[in-house]
Each structure stands twice: as structure tokens, then as C-alpha cells.
């Protein structure tokens, strides 16, 4: 008996060392998740103690809830646009920087700067710049003789979503550059020299030798972009408000969930449905987890083993 106890202690004793971390993880991750799931199975509005258990009815409702699809579609558009932008412009700038131009440190800092700025602050600055009344962009276009391009950027659903994309792209370009630059700097010069010796021209060297080596960067960036764009909230909130103005043209999952759970009107909380908001948040989390898993599986498969 004592022998058995001892062995058990020897075998599992080390687990005590992870206990504090585990307790913390349980307290701030698992418990809130379980609690949130509990809430999502009720019809709690967020006010008072009046609630009933309604099972998975909230989740069933999501499936036929138009605004959810509309918001998710906007997220998907933002993701696609940012994805393309980062893997083209971001990669291209990273390649240019990797040639170690003069003032490289300067360029790198300037290009990375937006990343460390608060999205709320950048969003606010962009709102000011895009304003047709006090903004900089329309007068600038006019002065360049491109006055016909001037627009009420945030007042049309399409261009407003475009503006959200531009601001997000501007803000996240630094990540793409840094991640790709790190990838590029990990590729030995000799590989490119070898390819040049083997008869490859610059383009062939890039596509057949350099680019395949960047697949870990590609994977990391794609997954980060996916998560980041489907979590978009602050840019939209600052640029077009919690209603995803105009006429929900920029409504994303983040603002929809926020509005449903907390409300967006200072005069009425009639449409607040906290439990439904929580259900949408958890449902989104689940879908994103599955999508990320799939994305990683597909992308990892084409990565190189070393």
C-alpha cells in the first residue's frame, strides 16, 4: 500500500507544479467559457433575474438569423481582402526590405509603426481624414486633379466597407512585413546563389526557391489574419459606429454581438438580448476554431520538413 502510494506520488508528483497555472487557466478561461455557455442556453436579456432555460434554441436561431450571415459575410470580405493584400503587398515590401536598402531601419520602423498604435486612435484619425467635411483625403484628391474620385467614403455601404478594409490593411501591414521579413532572413543567401548558378532567373529563384521556404510564414500570417479579421471590432466601432453604419453596410460579427449583448442606443434597451449575443459569440468561436484547424491542416501539409 505504502509502496503503491509512493509510486503514485512519484508518477504524478510533478503535476503539482502545473497546478497554479492550471488553476489560473481554469479560472480565467474554462470557467468563464462554461458559464457563458450556461447563459447562452437561457433567454436572459441582460437585465434582471428573469430567465428561463431554453436549451439550444439560441443556437438554432443563429442558423436562420439574417444579420449574423450579413455580418459574417462582411468579415469574410475583410479577411479575403486583407489576406490578398498581405500576401502581395506585404510580401513585396518585405522582399524589398530584405535587399537591405539604405535607411532600411527607417522604412521598417515607419511601416511597423501602425501596428503598435491603438486601433481606436488610428480609427479615429482615419475617420477625421475620410470626413467629407473636415477630412484631408478629398481635398488631397482634388489637388492632385483626381477630384472625381472624392467621395463620401463612409456614407455608402460599399465604400464604407472599403474604408474599413483600407484602415485594417494599413494597420496590419507591419505584421505581414515583419513575419515575411523574418522568414526571408532565415533563407541562406547560398540557396539563391545556388539557384542562380543552376540557371534560374530572378523570378524563378523567387518562386521556386525563396517562396516555398516562406511557407511557415505564409501559414502563420494566414492564420493570424483569419483570426484577426474575424475578430474585427474596434475599427468598425470607431469608423462607422456600433450599428455598422451606413445601413449595416459595415456590420461585422464583433459589432453585431456587441449590439445584441449590450445595446447600441442610449434611449432604448428593448432589443438587447444578452444570452443570444453570448450564443453568437460562442458559435463564432467554435466555427473559427474549426476553420483555423482546417486552415492549419491544409497549410501545414505543404510546408517543408527540415
Amino acid at each position: 500500500m505504502a509502496q503503491r502510494l509512493k509510486t503514485r506520488r512519484q508518477r504524478y508528483g510533478h503535476l503539482w507544479f502545473v497546478a497554479p497555472g492550471l488553476a489560473f487557466f481554469l479560472a480565467v478561461m474554462i470557467f468563464p467559457l462554461v458559464f457563458a455557455f450556461g447563459i447562452s442556453t437561457t433567454n436572459w436579456s441582460g437585465l434582471g433575474n428573469d430567465l428561463q432555460f431554453i436549451g439550444l434554441a439560441n443556437y438554432a436561431e443563429i442558423l436562420s438569423y439574417g444579420p449574423y450571415y450579413r455580418a459574417a459575410f462582411h468579415n469574410a470580405l475583410i479577411f479575403l481582402a486583407i489576406f490578398l493584400f498581405q500576401h502581395t503587398v506585404g510580401l513585396y515590401i518585405a522582399v524589398l526590405l530584405n535587399e537591405k536598402p539604405r535607411f532600411m531601419e527607417f522604412y521598417r520602423t515607419v511601416l511597423f509603426l501602425p501596428v503598435i498604435l491603438s486601433l481606436v486612435a488610428t480609427g479615429f484619425v482615419w475617420t477625421l481624414m475620410l470626413s467629407p467635411n473636415i477630412g484631408l483625403i478629398n481635398p488631397a484628391l482634388q489637388n492632385m486633379g483626381l477630384g472625381f474620385l472624392a467621395s463620401q467614403w463612409l456614407s455608402h455601404p460599399t465604400s464604407a466597407l472599403g474604408a474599413v478594409i483600407v484602415v485594417t490593411a494599413w494597420n496590419s501591414l507591419g505584421w505581414a512585413i515583419i513575419i515575411y521579413l523574418a522568414g526571408l532572413q532565415g533563407i541562406p543567401d547560398e540557396l539563391k546563389q545556388a539557384a542562380a548558378m543552376d540557371g534560374a532567373n530572378t523570378r524563378q529563384i523567387f518562386w521556386r526557391v525563396t517562396f516555398p521556404q516562406l511557407s511557415p510564414s505564409f501559414t502563420a500570417l494566414s492564420v493570424l489574419t483569419f483570426i484577426g479579421t474575424f475578430r474585427t471590432f474596434d475599427v468598425v466601432y470607431v469608423l462607422t459606429g456600433p450599428l455598422g453604419a451606413p445601413n449595416f453596410g459595415t456590420d461585422v460579427l464583433g459589432t453585431l454581438i456587441y449590439r445584441t449583448a449590450f445595446g447600441a442606443s442610449s434611449f432604448s434597451s428593448a432589443e438587447i438580448r444578452f444570452a443570444f449575443g453570448v450564443a453568437m459569440a460562442l458559435f463564432t468561436m467554435l466555427i473559427m476554431a474549426i476553420a483555423c484547424w482546417g486552415l492549419l491542416k491544409v497549410l501545414r501539409a505543404r510546408e517543408i520538413e527540415t
Binding site: 540557396l191 545556388a194 539557384a195 542562380a196 548558378m197 540557371g199 532567373n201 521556404q213
Partner: protein, 387 residues
């Protein structure tokens, strides 16, 4: 197949005060195996990169066959290169790595397949074709790199220290494999190394460089027997040639309290010492000095000194004799480098290779026989051989 001519080739990197390569003149015959050797920073790798088109020369021109390729891109020079790191494409299989140059030049698929398999057979890589380089051993990777170079049947091979990442045993084996392949393919080869053993064993000719300057180009035997200057003399040979400041007095050369006769052979090999009375640098190879007790014959010439250190290597003993002569250092030991064990006794240590039959012991005084037909003489001002 082609010969390679380097005409006044110079390279100064931007920001550098000193050229990495100055006015290199070198003709490499068709099918020749030339080894470029020298200490690190001597310009040998720069020379290789310039020849390969990976660096642009500051001056001079490169000819391959009858074509001036100085302004050609690497890919247009018909050159293959083996890198020190092998530079294999980690995302491609061994097959694709070897096939890459052919795929780039859009060779027919069946032809590629045939040639890759031929090359793989030659290099014993047949079973690894579907593996990625990450799964291969160092020696296998080295062979893949070779395979990629030879599959194109280029006019020139460039090899940049291809064996330096291998362990000693494998290095010996690959050394002969590469030499054999080169001899079979008869492709003009320029091989860069810092290892004098590779240089001596592999090259048809050896070019020794130092500080961007070519010191001597000759066959390995010539280099060894007739070094052009004190640098070459002390760079080739292990342990290096002992160099002492000496004085020629008629037909005797004195160094410290020792003296040796100048023989007919010396006069033939170094005509510059004829009628030269005065300062010289005397060179003695360790293997030309032997314990006098090993042979019964009375030595015709000898030195006598105390043994300060004895390293037994089994087949022979490395014996350090304390001499009162002033020692001269050249070669890969820059002035001021005190990273040597014998730094305290630096002046006047003569290393000798005694046969294992020698009963020499540390601390005793020995008489060492010197093969006076193999003395070397250099100008004390210029360091050049007195020919």
C-alpha cells in the same frame, strides 16, 4: 569543357580599404583540377564568387574558353557550383534537387529522369531520390550537391570548401570520390579549400593565396619542394617548415650557434645563394631532420640542441629543439598572434620529425642529422625564394 583564364582580376568590397582580391592572373587548363588554397581572408572564396558571377569584379576579366564572360549572369556562364553548406533546396526531394538545373532549362521529362538516375547511380543516391535533404546525413547531402553540379555537364565546376562540414573520416573518403569523379568527367574544376591536405592530394595544380594576392601556382610536389616564398613554405607542410634568420659565410650557412654546409643540390635549387654572403632566411622541413642515433652512418651535417617538447604520434615523434637562432614566422600566423603554446619559447624552436625508433627524451641534448640537400633559402627582405 573549357579552359578558364582570369586576367587581372581584382575585387574591392564597398566600404573596404583593402582589396579582397588583387590582380589575379591565372590560367586553368581544360579538364584541370586546380585547388585554390590559403588561410581565411586570403581571397580564395572571393575569387570563386567572382568566377561564378555571384560577385562583380572591380577590375579585370574572366574568360571561359574563348568567351569573355565577365559581364555574364551566373546562369549564362555554364558553370556549376558546390557550396560549403551544400545549399540544397530543403523543400524539394533529392530527385528534384538534382533535376533542378535541367527543369529550369526545360529539358524533356524523360531525359531528366534518365539523367537523374544515372547521376544518382554514380553517387550511390538511388535509394534516397524521394527523400528530402533534411532526412539525409552530411555525406549524402554532399553527394546530392555534387549530383546537382554534375548533372548539367557544365564546362566548369566551382567547389567552395565542399568537405569542410564533414567529419574527418568521411572527408577522406569524399576527397577521393570527388577527385575520381572529376577525373572521369574531365571537367575543369576550381576547388577552394583552407585545408592543405586537400590541396596537396586533390589538385593537379595548387594556387596559394594570401591577402588577395596569388603567391604561387604549381603542382603539389613543386609547391612542397620549391616554395616560392616563406609564406608558401610555412603554409604547406605539417608541421610547417622551420624558418630561421641565418647568415651565409662562404659555403656554410650559420644560424645561431649552429651551422650547416651549403651543398651542390642547394646551389642548384637556389642559385640565388651563389656568391651571396650575408643575411638569408634558412628553411628546414621537420621531416628533413632526424635523430642521428637512428642511423649508424656518421651525419654529414647536424645540429645539436636540447629537446624542450616531444609529441609522440606513434609513427614518429614531433621533437621541439631549442635553438638560439632567431625564428621567422610567416603564413597563417599574423604578427602579434600569441595564440600558440610555444609563445614563450617562440624564438629558436625547431620542430623535427624523428622516427619512432628514436630514443629521444625531453630534456636531453641530441644531435640531429639534417638532410642538407633539401635546405631552403629565402631573401630576408622580400621573403622570396633565392632562385
Amino acid at each position: 569543357m573549357a579552359n578558364v583564364s582570369l586576367k587581372g582580376l581584382s575585387k574591392t568590397y564597398s566600404g573596404a580599404d583593402v582589396p579582397s582580391l588583387s590582380a589575379l592572373e591565372l590560367d586553368i587548363a581544360d579538364g584541370e583540377f586546380l585547388v585554390l588554397v590559403g588561410p581565411s581572408g586570403c581571397g580564395k572564396s572571393t575569387a570563386l564568387k567572382v568566377i561564378g558571377g555571384l560577385e562583380e569584379p572591380s577590375e579585370g576579366s574572366i574568360w571561359i574558353g574563348k568567351t569573355d564572360v565577365t559581364d555574364y549572369e551566373s546562369r549564362d556562364r555554364d558553370i556549376a557550383m558546390v557550396f560549403q553548406s551544400y545549399a540544397l533546396y530543403p523543400h524539394m526531394t533529392v530527385f528534384d534537387n538534382i533535376a533542378f538545373p535541367l527543369q529550369i532549362s526545360k529539358v524533356d521529362r524523360a531525359e531528366i529522369d534518365k539523367r537523374v538516375r544515372e547521376v544518382a547511380d554514380t553517387l550511390h543516391l538511388g535509394t534516397f531520390l524521394n527523400q528530402k535533404p533534411g532526412n539525409l546525413s552530411g555525406g549524402q547531402r554532399q553527394r546530392v550537391a555534387m549530383g546537382r553540379a554534375i548533372i548539367r555537364q557544365p564546362s566548369v565546376f566551382l567547389m567552395d570548401e565542399p568537405l569542410s562540414n564533414l567529419d574527418a573520416k568521411l572527408r577522406v573518403r569524399m576527397r577521393s570520390e570527388i577527385a575520381q569523379i572529376q577525373r572521369r568527367l574531365k571537367v575543369t574544376t576550381i576547388y577552394v579549400t583552407h585545408d592543405q591536405v586537400e590541396a596537396m592530394t586533390m589538385g593537379d595544380r595548387v594556387a596559394i593565396m594570401k591577402g588577395g594576392l596569388l603567391q604561387q601556382v604549381a603542382s603539389p610536389d613543386d609547391i612542397y619542394a620549391r616554395p616560392a616564398n616563406t609564406f608558401v613554405a610555412s603554409f604547406i607542410g605539417s608541421p610547417p617548415m622551420n624558418l630561421f634568420r641565418g647568415h651565409i659565410d662562404g659555403n656554410i650557412v650559420r644560424f645561431g650557434s649552429q651551422s650547416l654546409p651549403i651543398t651542390k643540390e642547394s646551389l642548384t635549387a637556389y642559385p640565388g645563394i651563389k656568391d651571396r654572403n650575408g643575411e638569408v632566411i634558412l628553411g628546414l622541413r621537420p621531416e628533413d631532420i632526424e635523430d642521428a642515433r637512428v642511423s649508424d652512418d656518421a651525419p654529414e651535417a647536424s645540429i645539436e640542441a636540447e629537446i624542450v617538447l616531444l609529441e609522440s604520434l606513434g609513427a614518429d615523434h614531433m621533437v621541439h629543439l631549442a635553438l638560439d637562432a632567431e625564428q621567422v614566422h610567416d603564413g597563417d600566423r599574423p604578427a602579434g598572434d600569441t595564440d600558440d603554446l610555444d609563445v614563450v619559447r617562440t624564438d629558436g624552436v625547431c620542430i623535427c620529425r624523428f622516427s619512432s625508433r628514436s630514443p629521444a627524451r625531453v630534456g636531453e641534448r641530441v644531435t640531429a642529422r639534417v638532410s642538407t640537400d633539401r635546405l631552403h633559402f629565402f631573401d630576408p627582405e622580400t621573403g622570396l625564394a633565392l632562385r
